[in-house]
C-alpha cells in the first residue's frame, strides 16, 4: 500500500497536467523535502510523521496553482514575442508580394487585396491596444491570430503563390509567415489552456 508521501506526490503530479515535465521535476524535488521533514519529526518512523510533513508542506493544488500562474506569465511573454515576429514577417512578405504583383497583376483583384490589407491593419490595431490594456488576455491574441490568417490567406490567394513563376524571395517570405502563424497558433492555444487550468486550480483549491 502506498504511504502518505507517495500518495501526496502522485496527486501533485496529477495537478501539474498543464506542464507534466515540470510536474515530474517538482515531484522528484519535493519528495526529498518531504522525507527530510518526516525524518525530522519526533514520531518518525510512522505514518503520522509522514502526514504531518505533508500537512506542513501545503495542498498540492495550491502549489500547482502558484506554478500555473507563473506558467501563464511565461507563456504570455512567448505568445507576445511570436505575435510581434509574425506581424513583422507578414509585413515584409506583404511588401514583397505587392512589389511582385505590381509587375504581374492580382489574380483576385476585387476582394483579396482588401482582406489582405485591412485584416493585417486590424491585427496590428488589436495587438497594439491589447498590449496596453489586456496584456494577459487570451481573446485579443486569438483575434490577432485569426486576422493574420485572413490577411496571409488573402495575400497568398491574390498572388497565386501556388502557381509557378513567383520569385524565390516571395516564396521564402510566404513560407516564413506560414511557419510563424503555426508557432503563434501553438502559443495562443497553449496560453488559453494554461489560463483555464490556472482559473480551475484557483477556484477549487
Amino acid at each position: 500500500m502506498a504511504g502518505v508521501i507517495d500518495t501526496y506526490l502522485a496527486g501533485l503530479r496529477r495537478e501539474f497536467d498543464f506542464d507534466p515535465a515540470l510536474g515530474r521535476r517538482m515531484a522528484e524535488e519535493i519528495e526529498a523535502h518531504l522525507w527530510d521533514a518526516a525524518e525530522a519529526d519526533p514520531a518518525w518512523p510512522s505514518a503520522d510523521a509522514e502526514r504531518r510533513a505533508v500537512e506542513r508542506f501545503g495542498l498540492a493544488r495550491a502549489i500547482a496553482a502558484e506554478f500555473a500562474a507563473d506558467a501563464v506569465a511565461r507563456q504570455s511573454k512567448r505568445t507576445w514575442i511570436a505575435l510581434v515576429a509574425t506581424l513583422a514577417v507578414t509585413f515584409v512578405a506583404m511588401r514583397l508580394r505587392q512589389m511582385w504583383l505590381g509587375d504581374v497583376g492580382d489574380l483576385f483583384p476585387t476582394l483579396a487585396p482588401v482582406v489582405d490589407r485591412y485584416a493585417f491593419i486590424a491585427a496590428l490595431a488589436v495587438g497594439t491596444v491589447a498590449w496596453f490594456a489586456w496584456r494577459r488576455s487570451w481573446l485579443p491574441l486569438a483575434v490577432c491570430l485569426v486576422a493574420i490568417i485572413a490577411s496571409v490567406g488573402a495575400g497568398i490567394l491574390r498572388a497565386g503563390l501556388f502557381v509557378d513563376g513567383a520569385p524565390l524571395s516571395v516564396l521564402i517570405a510566404a513560407a516564413g509567415e506560414i511557419a510563424l502563424i503555426g508557432l503563434l497558433a501553438f502559443h495562443v492555444i497553449g496560453l488559453g489552456r494554461r489560463l483555464r487550468r490556472t482559473a480551475l486550480l484557483r477556484r477549487v483549491r
Partner: protein, 108 residues
Amino acid sequence: MLKGHLDAIVLAALEAGPAHGYAVIETIKRASAGTFNLPEGTVYPALHRLEEAGLLASAWSTPPGGRKRRVYSLTKSGTAALAGRRKTWDRFSQAVDTMLGGDKTWPA
C-alpha cells in the same frame, strides 16, 4: 504581506551559500524565529520563479549515502538583485517606522 516579499526572503536565505528547498525553508523559519510560518511548499514556486529569472541557478546533487536533492545558489544577477531589494526595503521600512512611530519629520 509576506507573499510580496517572499522572493527577496528566499534570495536572502541563499546568501550564505547553496542550499536545497528544505534547508531554505528551515533557514527562513529559524532566521524569523518562527514568524514566517508559511506552508513549506510555497517556497518552491518562488525558487523556480527566481531560477527562471536568472537570479538562481540549480543542479541535482547526491551526497554519498544521501538523498538526491536539487541545490540552489545565487547567481551574480541574484546577488545584485538582493542588494537592490535590500536598499528598497531599507527605505520603505524606515518610512513606515517613521510614520507609525509618529515622527513628523518624514519626508525630510
